[in-house]
Amino acid sequence: MTDSNTADPYGARAHARAMAGTRVPAMPTVPATDATDLPAGVAPEAMLWAETVAPGGYAAKELRRGARLRLTDLDGDACVSMLVFNAERPSERLNIADTVKVQWSAYLGAGQLLLSDMGRALMSLLEDSAGAHDTFCGASNERSNARKYGDGSNWGIRPNARDRLILAAAKFGLGRRDVHPCINWFKGVRIAEDGTTLLNRGPFAPGRQVTLRAEMDLLVLLANCPHVLDERAAYSITPVRIAAWRGRVTTDDDAVRNATPEGLRAFLNTEDYFRR
């Protein structure tokens, strides 16, 4: 028998409270204003979200219009599957097909938009030092992980992106039918002329980043799991750092807003939505 101080509620309370202040590599910084790795030029009081997501982990947050969201691939092997919803009316969400079709581009890069199924700009991709992302292959699922790793369950150590996103969605009252086609950040998929998907899984340098701007009030769900096409036998994934901070709502003279006629009309639709 172990030496236990938890035989009664008083001992259990003291035991629980003694854990306060414990630090682990993957955890949220609460409040976010306590973060010490502030993005350049961002004051602590502007911080909205600071969290390190573990390999296989997930995270979610509501962000207001104008907020900036930065994802940093700390060790060069992250793969962040992302879903985006209009927080006010979550039946409006990221539409991957419209995002690539309307912008005439299969590959995401700086200056491009994430479009909703209502013809609106959800987010702008302001900065991208990775240049390798995926709009085609989507989230891993329990079956695909089980085939590769022998297990893909949420309660195991090799969870799959879809089931992580289902948990994240559930915490906002959403469910299986809301886990829609996603973006995968930091792992690249290009399309060959014959349609073949070509995965670029690195190795990549640590510290690659994407910085996005919320163009609507959003619910953002993130899962950090190995890419579904990653052929390595080991469950290979490294942590991602999230930073979000308050920012100015996009103005009429914004370069991303005005970059293309299709994108400008997406902004006009977003601005019209907020005209109330």
């Binding site: 079709k101 013809g119 085609f136 039918r177 086609p181 998907t197």
Partner: protein
């Protein structure tokens, strides 16, 4: 009299209908049944979704299908997967070289981005999908990336992607075998602003056999 449009289908014909130009259509398919869709007049995009008959939160997933076959084009032999990685249906045969699943469905809203706000009132595939799905208790949350039979969406080396002139022709078809009990939902695409229908929406024929 022999009808080349239904030759080679297994078992008995249980349904043989024309889907009017611009119209929605949906029907249950039982495991093993084959749905043939015939492009009667050529280059008519047929937007297509599938939902599990008993659990419709399981539905067609373009991304799972692409990842599993490591190719964005749908061809004879392609297994169409659900969002949970299960086989929903298989393209057992088709007389068109390839079909699309990255171009999505046209909507009134996306038309405003693609062509201008003057197209807002035009009928669109999402309107058809919403109408069919609403009859089964599904809504906008149930819209996902779809299949576009007979539609041509190449991806160029620099990533340029778009709907271009079709590679189908009058009388070409696709045969889809259900690998689970499912509901098939069609929007016979009403788009008139791009070449997906040759700028002229036309009827298609649907046959269920087996």
């Amino acid at each position: 009299m022999s009808d080349p449009a239904i030759d080679g289908l297994p078992g008995r014909i249980v349904l043989d209908e024309i889907v009017a130009a611009r119209a929605p259509w949906d029907h249950a398919l039982r495991t093993g049944q084959v749905l043939r869709i015939i492009d009667l007049e050529g280059n008519q995009a047929v937007d297509f979704l599938m939902y599990g008959l008993t659990d419709d939160a399981e539905r067609y997933s373009a991304q799972d299908t692409i990842a599993a076959q490591r190719n964005v084009f749908l061809k004879a032999g392609t297994v169409l997967l659900s969002n949970e990685g299960r086989a929903m249906a298989t393209i057992v045969s088709t007389t068109v070289a390839r079909h699309d699943t990255i171009g999505g469905a046209c909507s009134c809203e996306s038309n405003t981005l693609r062509y201008g706000h003057h197209t807002k009132a035009q009928h669109a595939c999402v309107e058809n999908f919403l109408q069919s799905n609403a009859r089964h208790g599904r809504g906008k949350r149930d819209m996902v990336s779809n299949i576009n039979w007979f539609m041509n969406v190449p991806v160029e080396a620099d990533g340029a992607l778009g709907i271009v002139d079709g590679i189908s022709a009058p009388g070409l078809w696709v045969d889809l075998r259900a690998d689970m009990d499912l509901t098939a939902v069609i929007s016979n695409c009403p788009q008139i602003n791009n070449p997906c229908n040759g700028f002229n929406p036309t009827p298609v024929r649907v046959v269920i056999a087996g």
